[in-house]
Amino acid sequence: MPLADASSTGWSWNLVADFQQMWSYPFMVNAFRAGAVVAVVAGAVGWFMVLRRQTFAGHTLSVVAFPGAAFATLVGISLSLGYFGFCVAAALALAALRRDGQAGGAGESAATGVVQAFLLACGYLFMALYKGLLEGPQALLFGSFLGITTGQVAVLAVVGVVVLAVLAVIGRPLLFASVDPQVAAGRGVPVRLLSTLFLVLLGAATAEAAQITGALLVFALMVLPAATAQVLTARPGLSLLLTVLIGFAVTWLGLVAAFYWPYPLGFFVTTFAFAGFLAAHAARALQGVRARSGGTLLQAGAA
């Protein structure tokens, strides 16, 4: 059996055999399950994040996962608790700071930047205080899919279902409030409450995703599929579906690549997602060129 394993560790273009081989390891099964949950939740929340142009807030929440995990390691509580506690607390802090500044203004972005830098510095402090964490920081920042347990997958799934359920309930008014906040406020939609609630959802989703991709790369799973889908189509329902599909595809592709090649998961996931983003932009540019040349042809025909 070990011999057979050793002879078949390479990638063999026989998809069925490759997946059978990967899924013969329980940790890979868990990684694929967790990846699927994370991709769907991060995609759905990220779609609203990109629509609301809150990428900076999203990035801040995603890096906050690092001090959360470092704190949990330092005081010896469960990692999931650290991730969720810090991300949700940071989301509430951002919502409170947002309240007195105007949305998108200079003051707000400075406040977001300060929150981000300070919490990262706290993460560094926790890490420095916990002397034994020699290899830890890089795993926390860049992610590792090797140690995901079945219990963690269950926690991820439960949180994912809750986040998606809340998102489904507030989806319509949130879409309205995102596209035109003034008109939505005029029509009696509680814009501020929705904004706070959305930041908390964003915090929960990033905390969840950070456990598999690491704090620094969660952001890639949130922003890239959504940005790609919104380039491809302007229809909300379709692009939301497309976002989830793209996120799912790049995560699984990344897991397959990271299993067969000795480079980090985050590198593969971000590279595939960014390639998709560039391809979508290229396709749209090509379409524009074709439409224009078609127009000139028509004009030539008319003349």
Binding site: F56, D100, T112, G113, A117, A121, F142, A227, F267, F274
Partner: protein, 284 residues
């Protein structure tokens, strides 16, 4: 404790850190003020991550770390200025680009740590979080010279840049080279990011750029007073942070500097709840 503190004060590494830190903070305060005023903090955030990838790429390729820092940051600054209209890129495009660049950074990190086993295992952490107490004499001299040059250029272009920031259309009509200023400014931000990475690390330099400037913008609406205040606050916070970490050895200097910066920024919320509105940035 006082014995320890006294010994830290007189060590050459502390003098180097104090000298380099002062100039780095000065440059960061000046650049950061315009960064916040132009609502480009997110660009600064992106550049801070590029700094990590640049440093890791240089280490993996066997070059000096600082070459990677400066080439990466200035190049990315110019690129971000190039893909946006009039030197302002869309947040989503910036986010997408730097998410990938960060992934690339993790790739170079793996490449570096596997090719040079164990020898410099902490390099990734030191780039991410800074090692200001590890600067030697030569590095300090280079850091001081680069930071002084950045500060001088900022002071020189402050007037036209302010005009171009507050009212871009009118400035362009009056013959101010708005686009060139946008490019030049982001190149300066890149240089400053590369510089500050050596002091507080690529993850924390955003605080050095955003916190003093944010505090200055809350305290005064007069632009040149604000610019001076931002630079002064940054230098003061750097000194306070260095002093604190010299007094308490278990406190990492990067954390102490960030804590001082955050405390000063938080204090502006207590003293002056609202000071009218700061000079309005052009809507991004």
């Amino acid at each position: 404790m006082t014995v320890l503190a006294a010994s830290a004060w007189s060590q050459p590494f502390f003098h180097h850190a104090l000298l380099a830190g002062t100039f780095i903070a000065l440059a960061a305060g000046l650049v950061g003020y315009f960064l916040v005023l132009r609502a480009q903090v997110f660009t600064g955030d992106a550049l801070s991550h590029v700094a990590f990838t640049g440093a890791m790429a240089a280490l993996a390729g066997g070059y000096d770390l600082r070459v990677g820092l400066f080439v990466g940051c200035v190049g990315a600054g110019l690129l971000l200025a190039g893909i946006g209209r009039a030197g302002r890129a869309d947040d989503v495009v910036i986010g997408s680009a730097f998410a990938w660049i960060l992934g690339l950074g993790s790739f170079f990190l793996t490449l570096y740590t596997t090719s040079r086993s164990g020898a410099m295992g902490g390099a990734g952490t030191s780039v991410l979080f800074g090692t200001i107490f590890g600067l030697d004499g030569g590095q300090t001299l280079v850091a001081v010279l680069v930071a002084a040059a950045i500060s001088a250029v900022m002071v020189l272009i402050a007037r036209p840049l302010l005009f171009a920031t507050v009212d871009e259309a009118v400035a362009a009509a009056r013959g101010v080279p708005v686009r060139l200023l946008g490019f030049g400014f982001l190149a300066l931000v890149g240089a400053c990011a590369g510089e500050a990475t050596q002091a507080v690390g690529s993850l924390l330099l955003l605080g050095l750029l955003a916190a003093p400037a944010g505090a200055a913008l809350r305290l005064t609406v007069r632009p040149f007073v604000g610019l001076a205040l931002s630079a002064g606050l940054a230098v003061g916070e750097m000194w306070a942070g260095l002093a604190a970490s010299a007094l308490i050895p278990s406190l990492p200097p990067s954390f102490a500097i960030m804590a001082a910066a955050t405390a000063a920024y938080g204090a502006t919320f207590l003293f002056r709840p609202t000071v009218g509105s700061a000079p309005r940035p052009v809507a991004a």
